[in-house]
């Protein structure tokens, strides 16, 4: 009974961290599908979400409900500027140059955040108090429900956007074949920009909703970003349900690993899974094998 309760507890908290990984992973996938770039700066948008919200609330004394949309907006603006200044001039560059430039960008954003704010870790207040809720013997913080709820809404919006709007359909066309998309009159460059905007918005919102649970600081983006990437890899770089499942699997495994094996090695779990998937099934857990994924 005791172990059962514990397991339930780990599962529940794993699901909500997993939801965060899923959102970040979808951000990776959207950019990858539109451009073929793995954006190493993805994690920094997550960090910016949390840190900007904190900044707006503490320094500008804005209430939470106003700080959140404003923070998402600002982080999205950073994503937009990043695409215009760093990615667009290099569209024809080799993958190695693109890896290097996005790494450079991520370090720059992280470093500037450290300069503007500080090196400390901060806590964001939970959205609706922190009186735990009891479910079948497990105690759950209300923030977990916020995370799960917002994730479900975001994923629904995302799905709707890609299958029911002109822009979403145009972006999908670009991911299948950018040249053909260009030929039928889709502005491919605008779609690339849009992919960065959507990823930055989703990433920053993920960073905001997780910050009350895990604290935030200038360098949280590295780990969250990498784990989001791991979720996307499990999902075969899909911007839909497979990546969500990937994130949830990763979150639950990590939480179980931390609880049952060792919390110190918790972070290693994601990377071992990442390497295993890349070695054995680079097309993702659910994808069909492709001849080459460059």
């Amino acid at each position: 009974m005791e172990l059962g309760n514990q397991l339930l507890q780990y599962m529940l908290s794993g699901l909500s961290t997993g939801a965060i990984y899923a959102l970040i992973g979808i951000g990776f996938s959207i950019i990858y599908n539109a451009t073929g770039i793995i954006n190493f700066a993805q994690g920094e948008f997550v960090m910016l979400g949390g840190m900007l919200t904190l900044f707006l609330m503490e320094t500008l004394k804005l209430p939470l409900w106003a700080a959140i949309p404003l923070a998402v907006l600002l982080a999205t603006l950073v994503g937009l500027v990043f695409e215009r200044l760093a990615i667009r001039p290099l569209r024809k560059a080799s993958p190695i140059s693109l890896v290097i430039i996005t790494i450079g960008g991520s370090i720059l954003i992280r470093g500037l955040s450290m300069l503007i704010w500080d090196k400390d870790t901060h806590a964001l207040p939970p959205f609706s108090g922190d009186d735990p809720i009891m479910i079948a013997g497990a105690t759950v913080l209300p923030q977990h429900f916020w995370i799960l709820g917002i994730t479900v809404v975001l994923i629904g919006l995302n799905k709707w956007f890609f299958s029911h709007t002109i822009s979403g359909k145009a972006m999908r066309a670009c991911s299948y074949n950018p040249r053909a998309a260009g030929l039928v009159g889709i502005d491919v460059r605008r779609m690339v920009l849009l992919s960065f905007v959507i990823s930055a918005a989703m990433g920053s919102l993920a960073g905001i909703i997780v910050a009350p649970l895990t604290m935030t600081s200038y360098d949280v983006g590295v780990m969250l970003g990498l784990k989001g990437f791991c979720a996307a890899i499990i999902g075969g770089m899909s911007s839909g349900i497979p990546t969500v499942i990937g994130g949830l699997i990763l979150g639950v495994l990590e939480s179980l690993g931390a609880g049952l094996i060792s919390s110190g090695y918790k972070d290693a779990i994601a990377f071992v899974i990442l390497l295993l998937i890349l070695f054995i099934r680079p097309q993702g857990l659910f994808g069909k094998p492709e001849s080459e994924r460059v």
């Binding site: 790494i103 450079g104 960008g105 992280r110 450290m114 090695y265 290693a268 990377f271």
Partner: protein
């Protein structure tokens, strides 16, 4: 080839004579680290510049070398030279083994996989407290000895480290100009074409990955014996990025460029003390600016810039005439 030999001779003489100018100065100490960084940057450049394969986990091999040497020579009281050799071979073997699955990946995927590998190793350094000392580090590593000479001063360490660097540079220059070097460049430019021409691309890539890891491990061993203390932050993701920056700044595929990159990035923080802590911002900006405006690195970028300027003058002259 003759030109290469002359270049190498000039480089070697400059290196050997440098202590005359800096001896007794704290810069001697900095130059020891320039040497260690040059080893690492050249190693990464062999992989990145010649074989065209990125690695964001090279600090892991550096760390494995440092911890391997430190632990074997301190906890187990091995002869440090023997430890260095064994560690280099083991790390090389390890890299050879993981090279096969990891180098099957390309571009972004390879970058992420090597990054993941680097982080796993970093976590082990931190968590395996009984062996590595965990976050507080591992101390009491002996200095290297050769007969009556104990390498315990900056000057002695300078010659120790730079002897290895000169050996490594000679090896790399030779390799780059050999049949293997040409095969690497073929892989870099067009892997499929190279394979069609009979280059065993896969094996070559894995071999250069292993060689590169071995050089990093040796650099790590030297670092451990020079510092007599190692701790995880010296082998984290930031260090892998720093190495990448050195290679990119110097120029992909240029051995002396890597030296230049290592020299610049090791010396700059010394002169820009006020940037302490913020140097990482500087690396980030530098990486972006270099990739956008000078993708060939300093070694190719500066002559190009020069040519552009003189070229403009010539054009003007031509119009007047």
């Amino acid at each position: 080839m003759k030109k290469e030999l002359i270049k190498y001779a000039v480089f070697a003489i400059c290196i050997l004579l440098a202590p005359l100018a800096f001896s007794g100065n704290y810069l001697m100490n900095v130059l020891v680290f320039v040497g260690i960084h040059t080893l690492l940057a050249v190693a990464l450049n062999l992989l990145l510049g010649y074989a065209g394969q990125i690695s964001l986990g090279h600090a892991a091999f550096f760390g494995l070398g440092a911890y391997g040497s430190g632990i074997l020579s301190t906890t187990y009281e091995w002869n440090p030279w023997l430890a260095m050799l064994v560690v280099a071979l083991v790390v090389g073997g390890l890299a050879f083994a993981i090279g096969f699955p990891i180098l099957k990946l390309k571009g972004h995927y390879l970058a992420m996989a090597t990054l993941g590998m680097g982080i796993i190793v970093y976590i082990v350094f931190n968590e395996w407290v009984a062996i590595t000392g965990g976050p507080s580090g591992f101390s009491g590593i002996p200095n290297l000895e050769l007969g009556p000479v104990v390498f315990d001063s900056d000057l002695k360490n300078y010659y120790l480290v730079w002897t290895f660097v000169l050996g490594c540079v000679l090896l790399s220059v030779n390799l780059a100009n050999s049949r293997i070097g040409r095969a690497f460049r073929a892989i870099h430019d067009a892997e499929v074409a190279a394979r069609v021409m009979g280059v065993n691309a896969r094996l070559l890539k894995v071999q250069v990955f292993a060689l590169s890891a071995m050089i990093c491990a040796i650099a790590g061993s030297l670092y451990a014996h020079v510092m007599t203390f190692v701790a995880p932050p010296s082998f984290g993701f930031n260090i892998s990025v720093e190495l990448l920056t050195m290679v990119v700044i110097g120029g992909l595929g240029s051995i002396y460029g890597s030296f230049l990159g290592a020299l610049l990035l090791t010396m700059l923080p010394e002169f820009l003390r006020f940037m302490h802590d913020y140097d990482i911002v500087f690396y980030g900006g530098l990486l972006m600016v270099m990739t956008i405006f000078m993708p060939g690195g300093l070694v190719r970028g500066i002559p190009d810039l020069f040519r552009k300027i003189t070229g403009l003058k010539n054009k003007k002259g031509g119009a007047h005439a």
